[in-house]
């Protein structure tokens, strides 16, 4: 059953990616076995550079969740969360991660050997409410040292000096905590190197994404798994080397005029998180010669880091990663999507109205209206959930998408 939901991937880089995923979790278990600290942290912030610069292995529960969805253990984890009293209306990442951390972690024979338990936790007042609450539950459950960090939610366009400075004071507090955990002083040159790696990874990332402006597009949203390195391997050469190879492969395709499908006719934009348990949906559009060439989610790493200002850079990264894709500023999100739709020559937009993600889903009606009225790009919305297949009807998805694609096909013919 799960096999049928798997997406058809066409980039050769996927072979290397599979190894990177396996290695990431194997490294975590090795670190644990060797007595090196393993810290569980929220995703998409500057902690990762600090961790790698201090030989600490990071674990991101939020990154583990899509893996659970892909392999099908999410439903078990949801059941565990429900037994603990957590409402089924809460975000699927939250329910999966709580269910897994509190109960599922004890199961035997887990894929990738599961997650090593944390030696410490960093709990943020930042990101979305479910992310914040996930870590509060974990802090209550695991009897390990906890660092409570703080970062306000600021609209990207409003970020000013006092926001950055506050971020820097937080980073300094965290460094002190991590020095206590590891018993070692932070080597600032190693942190600069980690920041430089992230900057290079972000640059390659932007170039890879830019290559998708080409008609035909060299790859589609079906290959979105490559962002694994942007979440888990920022601050390392692993991400840089992998993305360099991806860029080379993608540029080769562009040079040869090799698209995802032989006759790309329709170019699509995807808003919101993919349905991790059903990535095959991205291939569904191909029967109309359509390709998803841009997404909201992949813009979360469009940023630059300055190795000469490492603390300011990671403070900035921590401040912008979440607002880049959420509803902290609808204006900013609209601006980004408007630009993407023009730059990627989008014919139509697919909006995943995602029960598991209110921050990204709120404002979708406004975005759809803007695309239609200002850019004359039509959109379609379907109900789904990025983690819970129980809140998604594939038949309804087909009905809605079929009608939309027929309309787009007609438009393209005229």
């Amino acid at each position: 059953m799960m096999e049928e939901k798997k997406t058809t991937k066409r980039l050769k880089a996927n072979t290397a990616l599979r190894q990177i995923i396996t290695d990431f979790y194997a490294d975590a278990h090795r670190a644990k076995a060797e007595g090196r600290p393993v810290g569980w942290i929220p995703p998409m912030n500057g902690l990762i550079e600090l961790f790698y610069a201090m030989d600490i292995h990071p674990i991101f529960p939020e990154n583990w969740a899509p893996i659970c969805a892909a392999i099908g253990t999410n439903t078990n984890n949801f059941a565990y969360a429900q037994r603990r009293g957590y409402s089924g209306d809460l975000c699927g990442y939250f329910r999966n991660n709580i269910g897994y951390a509190l109960d599922g972690i004890a199961e035997e024979n887990q894929p990738l050997d599961g997650l090593p338990k944390p030696d410490f936790l960093i709990s943020f007042g930042a990101g979305c409410i479910p992310t914040m609450k996930t870590f509060q539950v974990l802090c209550d459950h695991f009897r390990v040292p906890v660092f409570r960090a703080d970062l306000p939610q600021v609209a990207m366009e409003d970020i000013g000096e006092h926001h950055i400075q506050y971020g820097v004071t937080q980073i300094k507090r965290i460094i002190k905590f991590l020095e206590g955990i590891t018993g070692k002083r932070l080597d600032i040159d190693r942190l600069r190197q980690a920041v430089a790696y992230t900057d290079e990874a972000c640059r390659f990332w932007d170039e890879i994404m830019d290559a998708r402006r080409t008609i035909p597009s060299p790859f589609s949203a079906a290959e979105i798994g490559i962002m694994f390195v942007m979440v888990t391997r920022h601050g390392t050469k692993i991400a840089v080397d992998f993305l360099r190879d991806v860029l080379e492969e993608v540029r080769g395709k562009v040079a040869r005029g090799e698209g995802v499908i032989p006759n790309e006719r329709i170019r699509l934009f995807w808003d919101n998180i993919p349905l991790w348990y059903n990535m095959k949906l991205f291939n569904y559009f191909e029967k109309w010669d359509a390709v998803v060439v841009a997404e909201t989610y992949t813009s979360a790493w469009t940023m630059r880091m300055d190795k000469d200002k490492p603390l300011e850079s990671i403070a900035y990264k921590s401040l912008v990663s979440y607002p880049l894709v959420s509803c902290v500023s609808l204006d900013k999100r609209i601006e980004l999507i408007r630009k993407a739709v023009v730059d990627y020559k989008i014919d139509g937009a697919i909006f995943h109205s995602n029960r598991s993600c209110k921050p990204i889903s709120m404002g979708q009606m406004d975005i759809m209206k803007m695309l239609s009225e200002e850019l004359f790009v039509p959109g379609v919305m379907f109900d789904g959930d990025h983690m819970d297949g129980g809140s998604f009807s594939e038949a309804q998805f087909h009905t809605r998408i079929d009608a939309f694609m027929e309309m787009l096909s007609e438009r393209k013919r005229i």
């Binding site: 921050p359 709120m362 009606m365």
Partner: protein, 365 residues
């Protein structure tokens, strides 16, 4: 007029004040907005509050899995109930209200809009940060109102709100000491405190407190109940709980006790104000578990609570994700508790049955 009556005509009162005094009125979406700053500019701050009879109007802009209070406010906005507002201010608390703020601004196009981003911890650097954040807000208000910020005006505004909060706290203390009044009156007072001009609210409040002091005291024999949730405004639900055998003496909600624990101290007004908003007992959107647990236990002890009723709005992420933890805290403390999940103000038969069963269970304990 008592607070229940004032509550019913609160929008008309504000509109009349606006017309009479030719003043600016700004809507707020959360109790974390520093209303004292708005007031110091001569602005009337009004908490956007209420239930729409045409909830479906929100469907065009908000998905059905967004919490009912947010959908109701959007529908009220679209229906024109808040057309008299000159602007809107929000302080980031939960994701849903932040989304609402953005969608409101885009669709209803208020003349002024601002989002305040408060830190989550009360460390020294957070105080400096918050003052800078309030400073940005003040600068924007100066441009909008074409008035200069006055620390003395702010001091005067703080004094008014301090008096209001102190008197409101006294109401809770009187209730605690055995005053036999219904909680729905106190709830109406809480709502009026955030939706009416403070100059109009205060005289009514002074009268209310004086009258309360003369009212009958006694032992009701009922169980002392604390209600907890986000937006709790359903008076029929409150009355039903009281009819079923409970005395609601304390709350843990968006309006009520949490805003009243402290007064803003004297000194540099902006610094004092920043300190107040940072150290207030936190709501579920801003708290970590230890601080929420500490405040909860303190309130339970202070009010000698017999049982807790959680009134949670459907799809409310902060409260629903806190609930198993809070339940554990109460179970460990031996305090009976129950959770009601509601959709806006709606006292359904199912909710009634659950409340009755809860009190029957309590009687057997």
């Amino acid at each position: 007029m008592n607070f229940r009556e004032l509550n019913k005509c609160r929008l008309d009162i504000v509109k009349e004040q606006k017309k009479k005094n030719n003043c600016t009125v700004i809507g707020t979406l959360c109790s974390y907005v520093p209303v004292e700053i708005l007031h110091s500019f001569g602005i009337i701050p009004v908490r956007i509050w209420g239930q729409s009879e045409n909830l479906h109007k929100a469907d065009a802009l908000l998905q059905p899995f967004i919490c009912p209070p947010v959908r109701h406010l959007m529908a009220l906005g679209l229906e024109g109930h808040y057309n008299f507002l000159d602007g809107i201010v929000h302080c980031y608390t939960c994701d849903a209200t932040c989304g609402l703020f953005n969608i409101w601004v885009r669709n209803l196009k208020p003349g002024f809009s601002h989002l305040i981003s408060l830190p989550y911890m009360a460390i020294n650097e957070a105080l400096t940060y918050t003052m800078a954040e309030f400073g940005n807000f003040i600068e924007k208000l100066e441009t909008f109102t074409k008035k200069k910020f006055s620390p003395d005006n702010l001091k005067r505004s703080i004094a008014l709100y301090n008096e209001a909060r102190s008197l409101m706290k006294e109401v809770y203390c009187l209730r605690k000491s055995g005053l036999l009044v219904s909680y729905s009156g106190i709830s109406a007072m809480n709502i009026c405190s955030q939706t009416l001009p403070v100059e109009m609210f205060l005289p009514e409040l002074r009268k209310y407190v004086e009258k309360m002091k003369e009212d009958e005291r006694g032992i009701s024999g009922k169980l002392k109940i604390l209600i907890s949730g986000s937006v709790i405004s359903d008076t029929s639900l409150m009355a039903f709980i009281e009819g079923a055998g409970g005395d609601i003496v304390a709350d843990d909600a968006c309006t009520g006790l949490r805003v009243l624990r402290d007064v803003i101290p004297e000194g540099d007004p902006l610094q004092s104000l920043a300190g107040y908003y940072l150290t207030r007992p936190p709501c579920a959107s801003r708290a970590d578990f230890p601080s929420r647990k500490a405040y909860f236990l303190e309130t339970l002890k202070d009010f000698d609570i017999d049982a807790v009723i959680f009134i949670h709005q459907k799809f409310c992420d902060p409260h629903l994700s806190d609930h198993p933890f809070m339940k554990k805290v109460l179970d460990e403390a031996g305090i009976p508790n129950m959770q009601l999940e509601v959709e806006g103000d709606e006292l359904t038969g199912q909710v009634q049955t659950r409340i009755e069963s809860f009190f029957e269970m309590l009687e057997r304990l």
